[in-house]
């Protein structure tokens, strides 16, 4: 029987292998299976180092939850990596803000027409059935 850790490793390896194939295609070169396994294994071990460091950073900040700032600290050694991660982080927070706005609008709208539009749901169900047939 597979343990949880083994399943995680398999999922990890699958994605790492796919990313390697992408690079191979870009560069017009191929990777031996062992080379892909090596890249995957190195990255897996790197992930462990990441986790340990992140935990320490959070602890240093007297928190039990790792946040975005901790990850930025992890990326500090390479300027280009730090820039890339900071940019991603900004995108994420912008995305979250938009998501929140949408939710606000949605729930406000829902409250407004809850009583008048109750027939909406059954219509949707009928549509689904016809798609399946």
């Amino acid at each position: 029987m597979e343990t949880e850790a083994q399943r995680l490793k398999a999922a990890f390896h699958y994605t790492a292998a796919r990313l390697c194939e992408e690079v191979a295609e870009d560069k017009g070169i191929c990777f031996s299976r062992q080379a892909i396994a090596a890249v995957s294994e190195i990255t897996f071990r790197q992930c462990e180092i990441f986790a340990r460091d992140l935990e320490m950073f959070a602890k240093h900040g007297k928190r039990s939850t790792v946040n975005v700032e901790d990850v930025k600290l992890l990326a500090r050694r390479s300027n280009s990596l730090l820039k890339h991660i900071t940019q991603k982080s900004d995108e994420l927070s912008l995305n979250n803000l938009e998501q929140k706005e949408k939710k606000k609008k949605k729930s406000a709208a829902k409250k407004g027409r809850r009583n008048s539009n109750e027939h909406e749901e059954p219509v949707a169900i009928v549509n689904e059935d016809s798609n399946m047939a």
């Binding site: 990313l19 690079v23 031996s32 990441f50």
Partner: protein
């Protein structure tokens, strides 16, 4: 509930979260959603960087196939330039 494909083609948020959880020493340690997504991005960059450098190494040797030894050769670069020092070479039994 959350079906946002933040890391299309990269590592899944759930996988990375569980991996982090696995390696945290303290069971109480958690990671915020955005932090997990950023770690997933870091891992993706790491894989691509390792693969690209391995490919370049093979190409400088006029080969069209990347072998383990090419990856071994570029390991020190990965550790010193981008990421923290780590005795990966010693740990790898390849």
């Amino acid at each position: 509930m959350e079906t946002r494909e933040e890391c299309a083609g990269g590592f899944k948020k759930e996988t990375v979260n569980k991996l982090l959880q696995l390696h945290f020493k303290d069971d109480k340690t958690r990671a915020s959603g955005d932090a997990v997504l950023l770690v997933a991005e870091m891992l993706k960059v790491f894989v691509r960087e390792a693969a690209a450098r391995g490919a370049r190494q093979a190409q400088t040797e006029d080969l069209t196939r990347v072998e383990v030894e090419h990856i071994e050769k570029i390991l020190p670069q990965l550790n010193s330039q981008c990421f923290e020092c780590c005795p990966i070479l010693v740990m790898m039994n390849l």
